[in-house]
């Protein structure tokens, strides 16, 4: 259903966000 699709996309987006935050932190550590 539309609600399920929205939830799936929402979960995917927040997962990607968390992954990117970790990636950015790691990159900044290595750039120091």
């Amino acid at each position: 259903t539309l609600k399920d699709n929205v939830n799936i996309l929402l979960d995917k987006a927040s997962l990607e966000s968390q992954e990117s935050i970790g990636f950015i932190k790691a990159t900044k550590v290595l750039m120091k």
Binding site: K3, V6, L9, L10, S17, I21, K28
Partner: protein, 86 residues
């Protein structure tokens, strides 16, 4: 023929909208259908709130992408410096 097909699908869509309206025409009188309508209304509100969250998430993703691009550019500068050093 593609124009004709387009006209057909355009007219068919209008007919199906009218059929939908016809099926909803009397639902206000029947209590059971009224509760179904209310439930649908509640569900639409829930989905709208989820879409609000999704919108914020997408905006956040856009900011994160910009941050990643800045980091990439900065790293490229560092690489050039090291190459220059070498």
């Amino acid at each position: 023929s593609s124009d004709l097909e387009q006209i057909c699908s355009y007219i068919n869509e209008k007919i199906s909208n009218i059929k939908t309206c016809l099926s909803l025409r009397n639902c206000g009188q029947e209590p059971t259908l009224k509760t179904v309508l209310n439930k649908i209304g509640d569900e639409i509100m829930v989905v709208n709130e989820l879409l609000n969250k999704l919108e914020l998430e997408v905006q956040y993703q856009e900011q994160t992408t910009n941050t990643l691009k800045e980091l990439s550019a900065s790293l490229e500068e560092d690489y050039k410096d090291v190459e220059h050093l070498k």
